[in-house]
Amino acid sequence: MITRSWMNFPAFGFSSPFEDIERLRRQIDQIFDQINERPGYMRTRVGVFPLINLTENRDTYFIRAEIPGIDPEDLDIQATGRNISITGERKMETDENAKYHRREREFGKFSRMFALPGDIDHERINANLKNGILTITIPKAETAKPKQIKIN
């Protein structure tokens, strides 16, 4: 912010020493924009399990999460206002006399809550767990759907 007030001085003719850095920053931003072309894509460094993809169309929100190895009984989904919470536990299939060579999969409890950007219709929320992918279909409330305005 101090740099901005420096550069806004119209009376002085010297070019700001930060101009080159600003140009470099813009070019680097352009490079990153080309890499992440998907709008809204965010590489989470520290995320909360499960990672979700939230998409929408005119009438519904779709939430998808990858939770392999879980049965529907171990999963608990709640809707309160505009918030959706997903809670559950991923259980490990233990074998008593097993010797592990490699452990990359993780187990344990998880719980995540997030807010949707608009009002939703609680009565018709539908959740589907298939092949380890949880898909929650949430219809928007009538007040939240975009309305076409006719021009006379």
């Binding site: 990672l51 392999p68 190895g69 097993a98 409890k109 992918i133």
Partner: protein, 135 residues
């Protein structure tokens, strides 16, 4: 560390396949997370492959190399707009060297809830044999 029994599950980014061979089809390819453990009679391999059905999964074993290849159907409809995307969707691919100590004709595969469980029975000669001591 008070409670080590059921700790919070951490979210992980998926790892993309690095390697010299290029893929013929476009799209990201990820390495599925895998657990390998052995009991007295078999070696068990469990892999997380969410979104892969039995028809899309190919398990190939030749020349002691086990190849897992899982295809993914595109998951969103065309009219959907993205609000927040935290993970990418792509195919799964991983290869393992299987030693000759496995009975390669009797490998069983189970796919449930997006988790593949491969049971590789050990060949008889490599099962631990208890040696009886005569007195």
């Amino acid at each position: 560390m008070a409670n080590t029994e059921s700790k919070e599950l951490q979210a992980r980014q998926k790892h993309e396949v690095t390697g010299t061979a290029e893929q013929t089809k476009p799209g990201p390819v990820f390495i599925p997370a895998v657990d390998i453990y052995e009991t007295d009679d078999e070696v068990i391999l469990t892999a997380d492959m969410p979104g892969v059905t039995a028809d899309d999964l190919s398990i190939d074993l030749r020349e002691n190399t086990l190849t897992l290849n899982g295809e993914i159907a595109p998951f969103e409809n065309a009219d959907e707009e993205d609000i927040a995307i935290e993970y990418e969707v792509g195919r799964y691919f991983r290869q393992f060297n299987i030693s000759e100590a496995i009975d390669q004709d009797n490998i069983k595969a189970d796919l449930k809830n997006g988790v593949l469980k491969l049971t590789l029975p050990k060949a008889d000669k490599s099962k631990p044999k208890k040696i009886v001591i005569n007195t």
